[in-house]
């Protein structure tokens, strides 16, 4: 019997090649999409799970809750927190820090700018990253040691064994007292004591070089490590809890620890536990659940995971609907066979088994094609996503088995309805005339077409909105000019006495328009602090960025001066000698008379216009009182996703960490080479770290643009599958209406009347699909756009455009059938029956 069913199925496939092709093509494409999405989701969900013994690991994350501004969630936490937790919370089994520090690594006469992970000596015993050489218990036994990743070791030493080799590490000098030239230029020879297996892409950790924080090369000042409870300075804190410990119970015990650390005086009356809220994120969930600022690697998100899962499912559903629709529409072609089988004794269940088997056979064939397509396209997919997703049938046998099971389930579900329809034929009605009336529910078939096009139109609207939002964000007025700006990091490696000389040397190049120092630049405010400020005499305070800038910073970036004047070195009071608002010694008034700039958002928060704010005194911090010399227009220094926050601009040279260089267009490579050469002449021991500001700007949109491209791709696939199905159903329907059309033509219908008739028949489901898709798309896109501080509105044209495009595509799909039938000879049509 199985052989008979198989032969019947294969011969039917061969006989009706077009419909077989449409079904197999639709299912193959749908399955291919679903497999690619499943591979992506598997990769996203696999982050860090491969690290042994990490089930009870957590990352401690701090959220600042400062007055007058939204909660500020960070991926980092204060350094001293872990020691206190280890000492006072029994549920905490062990802890480990990781602090990324910018360094120059010299190997022989070669220099490399690197980010080094400075870790606790027990780090590799807490987070058990695999070592190729060396023992995790002893690699950091000696303070002046370093562990390299395999690829880093190859970069430095080629194929030679790196163990025992010496590398010289020079810091950025960021934590050095600016007058301590020994500290700034300090070079530390370190011995390679271990080689780390290259970290795979699916980890939130970034660690190509690790050195212990017992080394002299660690720049984190002891004072910071012990006492800095209200800043994090890039410290990633990990704890391992004892099995069975509840994270909430651990967090509850933090309150008393925190409130002992810094008294209310230091926080303007606030307790630390009011200012700081903590969260323990499971190690395995860091990649997906942590949208906090300052992650080591670009985070994923559950929204993306859920979104893509739904899209994959929808595309598969569209393909399955195709199958159901075509199978039932064409059922009349098999009416005679089915009736005969019933006549000779087949029961309905036997027929259901036969047709389900045909559905499964088609599904398995489609799956084989889909797997082949996945193999061929996987490298392109990886390249696009910038990942190394693999699919090995043997080692990923469980994934393959799940894929086959899903395909079989999809095939079975798609085949159930056609099997029920086909097996329900009444033989008496069929066998006399060898024809059958319309099979299955026409309403259901139309509903399936509506569902398919609803999905396609919904995805189409989403793609239009995503691209529109990206284009809007890219073209927004940022409040500053971003073109032609080079950012230099690690300025702290320059001796203070050499900073101005360096800037002059750069300015002497005619291709360089201007240079300006700061501790923050657009899209990188990592070193910018935040302090509650208020107008002296008023009670309302809010937290503001305190951005250290040299006086030429606003002009370099083309920031508008709305009122007052710019800062200038000609005005002695425009430059701070101590950190603003936190004067040393305490309680002195050294800030008085010092001038600052504010942005328009700060003026507004103070309750003034720009003009009114000039000359007012701001109080803040420990005892700072400064005067507003000018008001700048708002600038989106935080990027385009966040609202503009109030900012106070101060000239405090001690804290400069970055240099902005505006270059003229033309001969950019030569200008960059000049910058590199000048840097090297001033700081021979430190590798230059520079980037173009526009590259960072482009990087802000990379993830969204990739999403938009993927959306567009999925829209194309969903529409293609829907059109394949529509093509098949239209062909069949046109044939079935041949007699009716012949009669119409005999009575005077023209070709265009017939074409209009057929086009209208298939326009109705598409129009209904619009009515279904529009409200659903509006609801979800409205919520997605609310995640952007600056966003487009949902223009009705987006919806109309997507709907019209779907309608036109549907017409194009079916017009060939309509024309063929409309132009046929009515005599031949009337002989049809």
């Amino acid at each position: 019997m199985f052989n008979h069913y198989l032969i019947t199925a294969l011969r039917n496939f061969a006989r009706y090649k077009l419909y077989s092709f449409i079904n197999v093509a639709g299912l193959s494409v749908g399955l291919t999409c679903a497999i690619f999405i499943a591979l992506f989701l598997r990769d996203e969900l696999s982050y860090d799970k491969w690290i042994p013994g990490s089930a009870n690991l957590y990352r401690v994350e701090l959220t600042f809750q400062m007055p007058g501004r939204p909660a500020w969630p960070l991926a980092t936490a204060p350094f001293p927190l872990l020691q206190a937790m280890q000492n006072e919370i029994p549920e905490v089994k062990t802890t480990a820090h990781l602090v990324p520090e910018s360094k120059t690594v010299a190997v022989g006469n070669r220099q490399f700018a690197e980010t080094v992970a400075v870790v606790d000596p027990n780090f590799l015993q807490v987070i058990k990253l695999p070592l190729v050489s060396g023992d995790s218990a002893t690699v950091f036994a000696h303070p002046e040691s370093i562990v390299l990743s395999q690829s880093t070791a190859r970069k430095y030493f080629g194929n030679a064994d790196p163990l025992g080799k010496i590398v010289t590490v020079t810091g950025s000098g960021i934590m050095c007292d600016r007058s301590d030239t020994m500290c700034i230029a300090a070079a530390h020879p370190l011995t390679v004591t271990g080689v780390l297996r290259d970290l795979p892409p699916n980890t939130h950790l970034a660690a190509d070089l690790l050195l212990p924080n017992s080394s002299a090369a660690d720049e984190l000042a002891k004072g910071f490590r012990d006492k800095a409870w209200t800043s994090t300075n890039g410290s990633y804190d990990y704890v391992e809890l004892v099995p069975g410990a509840e994270p909430q119970a651990v967090l509850a015990k933090l309150t008393s620890i925190l409130d002992r650390t810094v008294g209310p005086d230091g926080l303007e009356g606030m307790r630390v536990s009011q200012l700081e809220k903590y969260h323990l994120t499971p190690f395995w969930d860091v990649h997906l659940t942590s949208d906090n600022l300052g992650g080591m690697t670009p985070p994923g998100s559950w929204t993306t995971v859920h979104g893509f899962a739904i899209i994959g499912l929808l595309i598969l559903v569209v393909a399955c609907f195709n199958f159901m629709n075509l199978a039932t529409a064409r059922a009349t072609l098999r009416a005679r066979e089915i009736s005969l089988r019933k006549v000779v004794g087949a029961t309905r269940s036997q027929l259901i088994v036969q047709f389900l088997g045909e559905a499964l056979l088609m599904t398995l064939l489609s799956l084989a094609i889909a797997l082949a397509l996945v193999e061929i396209l996987l490298p392109i997919y990886d390249s696009f996503l910038n990942r190394s997703i693999t699919f090995n049938y043997l080692s990923d046998w469980s994934f393959l088995a799940a894929t086959v099971a899903c395909a079989i389930t999809a095939g079975a579900l798609s085949g159930v309805y056609p099997a029920l329809v086909l097996s329900g034929f009444r033989p008496a009605a069929v066998l006399k005339t060898s024809t059958a009336s319309q099979t299955g529910s026409g309403i259901l078939r139309s509903a399936l077409v509506v569902a398919q096009f609803s999905v396609s139109i919904g995805l189409g609207i989403a793609a239009i909105v995503v691209f529109s939002q990206i284009r809007f964000a890219r073209n927004m007025d940022l409040g500053f000019k971003r073109d032609g700006v080079v950012i230099l990091r690690g300025i702290t490696a320059l001796l203070p006495s050499a900073s101005e000389g360096f800037a002059q040397a750069l300015r002497s190049n005619p291709k360089i328009a201007d240079v300006a120092f700061s501790n923050g630049v657009p899209f990188d405010l990592f070193n910018v602090s935040n302090t509650p400020v208020q107008i002296q005499g008023k009670t309302q305070a809010f937290s503001a960025h305190i951005v250290d800038i040299s006086p030429d910073f606003p002009s370099l970036y083309g920031m508008r001066l709305l009122a007052g004047r710019m800062l200038s070195r000609k005005h002695g009071q425009d430059t701070f000698e101590f950190y603003p608002f936190y004067s040393l010694p305490p309680d002195s008034d050294v800030d008085i008379g010092r001038n600052v700039l504010i942005n328009e958002a700060a003026a507004h928060r103070f309750g003034y216009t720009a003009e009114e704010a000039v000359g007012k005194t701001i109080a803040g911090g420990r005892n700072g009182r400064v005067t507003i010399a000018g008001v700048l227009g708002n600038s989106m220094l935080d990027g385009v996703k966040e609202s503009i926050l109030p900012a106070v601009y101060v000239d405090f040279p001690e804290r400069y960490t970055l240099l902005s260089i505006r270059i003229h267009s033309g001969e950019v490579a030569k200008t960059l080479a000049y910058i590199d050469k000048t840097w090297h002449s001033f700081v021979p021991s430190s590798a230059i770290q520079r980037y173009l500001l526009n590259d960072t700007f482009d990087g802000l949109f990379k993830a969204d643009e990739k999403q938009g491209v993927l959306f567009g791709l999925f829209v194309g696939i969903a529409i293609s599958i829907s059109c394949l199905g529509l093509f098949g159903v239209a062909a069949f329907t046109a044939e079935r209406r041949t007699k009716e059309i012949g009669i119409r033509k005999v009575f005077g219908a023209r070709t265009r009347d017939v074409v209009r008739l057929l086009l209208w028949q298939f326009s109705i489901p598409v129009l209904i699909a619009n009515a279904v898709a529009w409200p659903i798309a509006y609801y979800y896109l409205h919520r997605w756009l609310e995640g952007y501080a600056y966003r487009i509105s949902l223009n009705p044209l987006y919806f109309i455009g997507a709907g019209a495009a779907a309608l036109v595509i549907a017409w194009v799909t079916i017009v060939s059938h309509a024309l063929r039938v409309a132009q046929s000879n009515p005599i031949r049509a009337l002989r049809y029956e």
Binding site: M1, H4, I7, T8, R11, N12, R15, R336, E337, S339, L340, R341, K342, V343, V344, G345, A346, T347, R348, Q350, R426, P427, A428, L431, K432, T433, S434
Partner: protein, 228 residues
């Protein structure tokens, strides 16, 4: 073999009621050859469908041998059908995707008690009987009308049914092929198979033992042509 008592069939929609058969009382003996005649729309096909258990009466009794057919499930009816009844249709109704052999074998596939070997033997016997064995591997599209009908007859007899129902078996054939088909049916009847045939042809009706005339769903006359 077949007993119909006060059997009627009414087709009802929301607006129309059509009486296809009206109070039929008829008995068909085992081994008899019955021809059913009447104008178009008189209920001949409905009659055949009910006798063949492809449709069920609205009122009345239908006894097939000792079995009361009324109230039986579709599964039970298909079981009786496959074991006892063979069908021959005007439009042959062969499956285009199957060869001649496979078409004939179809009638045995749903008999789980017949082995593969026996199936093949019976198919060959049936093909030889209707003299179409030389076309065993051909597809139906490659055969003439008369040849296709012979294959259909082979399919009808391969399961050794007690009853053959033929719905205008010569309607699509020329006179020569029609005569051949009638000869086959007569031979089968002569071997003991009961035959109930619907026909428009008076000439072909003469092959029957008895002619039953229907008009407007009712039996109007019965003419005995030959003695059983």
């Amino acid at each position: 073999m077949i007993t119909l008592k006060h059997l009627s069939k009414v087709y009802r929609t929301t607006e129309i009621e059509t009486v296809a058969l009206r109070d039929i009382n008829l008995e068909v003996a085992a081994g008899e050859f019955i021809a059913v005649m009447g104008p178009s729309g008189c209920g001949k096909s409905t009659f055949l469908n009910i006798v063949g258990m492809l449709d069920s009466p609205t009122v009345g009794e239908y006894w097939f041998g000792a079995q009361n057919i009324a109230g039986r499930t579709e599964t039970e009816l298909s079981g009786i059908r496959k074991n006892s009844i063979g069908f021959v249709f005007q439009s042959f109704n062969l499956i285009d995707e199957l060869t001649v052999t496979e078409n004939v074998e179809l009638a045995l596939l749903y008999h789980s008690d017949i082995s593969r070997t026996e199936r093949k033997d019976r198919v060959q016997t049936a093909l030889d009987r209707v003299k179409i064995g030389h076309r065993a591997r051909h597809m139906p599209q490659q055969l003439s009308g008369g040849q296709q009908q012979r294959v259909a007859i082979a399919r009808a007899v391969v399961s050794k049914p007690k009853l053959i129902l033929a719905d205008e078996p010569t309607g699509n054939l020329d006179s020569v092929n029609g005569e051949e088909v009638m000869q086959l049916l007569t031979e089968l009847n002569g071997a003991g198979t009961t035959v109930v045939m619907v026909t428009h042809s008076h000439a072909h009706a003469e092959y029957a033992h008895r002619i039953v005339n229907l008009l407007d769903g009712a039996v109007v006359t019965e003419n005995i042509r030959r003695i059983l």
